[in-house]
Amino acid sequence: MNQKICDAVVQIADEVIKRESGTTLKKKKAVLDKNVSFMASLEVDSLLALEIISRIEKKFGIKLQEDDFVHFDTLENITDLIERKIAVASQKVLSGKGARSLKVEKAVKKTKSIKAVGSKKPGKLSKKIKAQR
């Protein structure tokens, strides 16, 4: 389990719970138990659950489904799920960058070849200018 992700999730939930009820998660020690359902022990309703999910999405730059937290309910499972989603998202970004870099390389090669051709074979206009000189 990635401790940084775990801490970030707990911090987000802590902020939301603190704002709503005034209590911190430290007081709810059961929440931090790895084997207990995280969302159930937070005692949040759908409104807060959706807020926590959207904050996690924003924090990690990933997309989560509404029922992801039902299937992956313990803190450990949620952390693993986020870790997997981050890995998938980063792979997509890398593949996107790869495709872009290939395009850029092709464009650079094309411009280089044009320049090379231009230097070797001057056009009719440049020949006229040279003749005038």
């Binding site: 759908s46 409104l47 959706l50 807020e51 959207s54 904050r55 999405e57 489904q65 509404e66 039902v70």
Partner: protein, 137 residues
């Protein structure tokens, strides 16, 4: 077959979320149309609370809850606007994944600082039979 869905939303909680400037939450839960339309309502927290209560009631009536099959962002709610706050009007309507939802009955109540939504849907006929117009604020 008739299905019933009920939900209650605290207006102040919705106000806190809106005031917090949580765009990720708004974009996840509400459609672009609903967010655009909110600009016409002076009582934004009530507006969003009503729409959220409706969506929650609707998925409860379907026996689903919010899942990947019934995301709140897939339900598009069109509430009518009246001059003095929010009203339930005859042209209140909604779409779920592009399909029109028609109600046998839909009522919103303001109880203290809460919005309560009672929704009865007809799963087969889907025919609009709005029968009451009620001021909630």
């Amino acid at each position: 077959m008739l299905s019933v869905g009920v939900d209650i939303v605290e207006i102040d909680r919705m106000a806190r979320i809106i005031d917090n400037g949580d765009d990720a939450f708004l974009n996840r839960v509400f459609t672009a149309y609903e967010i655009r339309r909110s600009k016409k309502f002076s009582l934004k927290a009530e507006y969003y609370a009503m729409i959220f209560a409706f969506k929650e009631s609707f998925v409860k009536a379907l026996g689903l809850g919010f899942t990947r099959l019934s995301r709140p962002g897939d339900i598009d709610v069109h509430l009518a606007n009246q001059e003095n706050g929010l009203w339930i009007a005859k042209n209140t309507k909604a779409r779920f994944k592009g399909q029109r939802i028609d109600f046998l009955d839909l009522q919103f109540h303001r109880v203290g600082k809460h919005i309560v939504c009672n929704l009865v849907i007809h799963e087969e006929g889907l025919c609009v039979k709005r029968n009451s117009k009620e001021k909630i604020y």
